[in-house]
């Protein structure tokens, strides 16, 4: 997967990288266990200060998307869920709510909305069934 950076965007560069990695994982373009370019490599490739890349990687490690293996590099982590299913569902429902508000305001019917949703979903790699409840 190729990363990009756009300095005219209102999103800071480290945020752009975080979004690209998260989106890449969700779309199945980045698979668990896959190795990402090192901070130095990506810094040269994108012509961006290495600290900016490191900041994005650190944040992605903190949220569990990436994992660093000492001396081996940075990898896409196995999916894990620290939150309970209920908490995750609540989070998703909040996001959905905003989306539906927007759809209604833009004048889409329920059928059109669902059809669009299905179409977009084809581009993403959903887990086959919901992972079991986290013990924590």
């Amino acid at each position: 997967m190729r990363f990009t950076c756009d300095t005219s965007s209102r999103t800071p560069i480290y945020r752009q990288l975080i979004e690209q990695v998260r989106s890449g994982v969700a779309r199945g373009r980045l698979l668990p266990g896959e190795r990402l370019p090192s901070v130095r490599q990506l810094s040269r490739e994108l012509v961006v200060n290495p600290n900016t890349i490191a900041r994005a990687y650190t944040e992605l490690e903190r949220d569990g998307t990436l994992i660093t293996q000492q001396g081996r590099g940075v990898f896409v982590a196995e999916p894990r869920n620290d939150l309970t299913k209920r908490a995750r569902q609540r989070h998703l429902e909040e996001q959905l709510e905003q989306l539906i508000v927007e759809a209604v305001h833009l004048g889409f019917s329920a059928d059109e909305f669902v059809a669009l949703l299905h179409k977009r979903m084809e581009q993403f790699a959903f887990p086959s069934s919901s992972p079991s409840e986290a013990s924590s």
Binding site: S43, R44, V47
Partner: protein, 316 residues
């Protein structure tokens, strides 16, 4: 962290005009510092004072822990400087310019210089006056980097370069940054470049350092607010951190620095129908900030974890 650049009340007058006003700049080892400001804001004068080319009227500065007024030649040799416009002796060839510069330095990594010249495919026997602006910039970069300096000071190094050469130049800069412990101070007007390479930025306005903080912190703290009103928008709104405001009939546009709860409460007390908060990119944030009502500009500084970094230009 050690301060590689440290100025204390550095001041310069040209005639009666104070072009650099009690500047207290601290740049730590390993930092890449983007030095910003509009033309005439005092960036070049500051850099020239650091390099000993302009005498300060008061205050002083230290580079690598040594005062600029009595710096040992060995210390000077650990600092590289690229002047605005890449001035070089035009009658020399590329090879002659490199050999000439080499004679001033105790330490000189010729492999590195050759690598850079090769990378840019610079013809060694070509006279400098026959090179393009971009090629002259590349020669001066090779010469500046060859002594493996600990501190690089670049005065608007990408001025007048085309987009592709500029990107090449930045790539080289990134490679220099990746060598451990290098500190870089560079001035620029191209905010996209600054966002790519700078950890931290300083903004000079009329000789005063008004902003000194991490790059992302600056852009995130400058916000534009668009307020909609049922009737005419109120006149004469003011609150701490207000940089600029425009009354557009039933809309009020505000540019605020360090947007926080206090400002939000002040804005909400106007009882607008709607408040839209617009994020800005670095260039937009810079423009909004520097073209504002200059006298009333709020200061923006953030601790670097070092008590020395607290700015006191507020009195200026």
């Amino acid at each position: 962290m050690t301060d590689v650049i440290r100025t204390d009340g550095l001041t310069k007058f040209y005639g009666t005009k104070c072009v650099v006003n009690r500047l207290n700049l601290r740049i730590q080892q390993g930092q890449v510092y983007g030095f910003l400001g509009r033309n005439g804001a005092g960036k070049s004068t500051t850099i020239k004072m650091l390099m000993g080319m302009v005498q300060p009227d008061s205050g002083g500065a230290e580079l690598l822990g040594e005062s600029i007024t009595d710096m040992k030649p060995e210390t000077r040799g650990r600092i590289a400087y690229i002047a605005e416009g890449h001035p070089l002796y035009n009658w020399m060839t590329v090879a002659e310019a490199v050999r000439f510069s080499r004679s001033f330095h105790r330490q000189w990594n010729n492999t590195l210089a050759e690598q850079i010249l090769d990378h840019f495919e610079l013809p060694r026997k070509r006279k400098l006056r026959r090179l393009s602006n971009g090629q002259r910039a590349q020669v001066s970069l090779a010469i500046a980097v060859a002594p493996e300096p600990e501190l690089l000071i670049l005065d608007d190094p990408t001025l007048g370069l085309d987009t592709v050469v500029r990107r090449d130049f930045l790539e080289s800069l990134i490679q220099i940054i990746q060598r451990e412990g290098r500190t870089i101070l560079f001035s620029s007007h191209i905010l996209g470049d600054v966002e790519r390479v700078a950890d931290r930025i300083g903004v000079m306005v009329d000789g005063v350092l008004r902003v000194d903080c991490p790059t992302d912190h600056f852009r995130e703290s400058v916000k534009k607010l668009v307020l909609d009103f049922a009737g005419p928008a109120p006149e004469d709104f003011t609150c701490p951190g207000l940089v600029n405001s425009w009354n557009l009939g039933s809309q009020l546009e505000l540019v605020l620095v360090g947007y926080d709860e206090e400002q939000r409460a002040a804005v909400e007390s106007l009882e607008p129908r709607n408040i839209e908060i617009v994020d800005l990119n670095l260039e937009e944030a810079f423009i909004e900030y520097t073209r504002g009502r200059r006298r009333s500009l709020p200061f923006l500084a953030q601790e670097t974890g070092d008590d020395q970094s607290t700015r006191d230009q507020g009195a200026a």
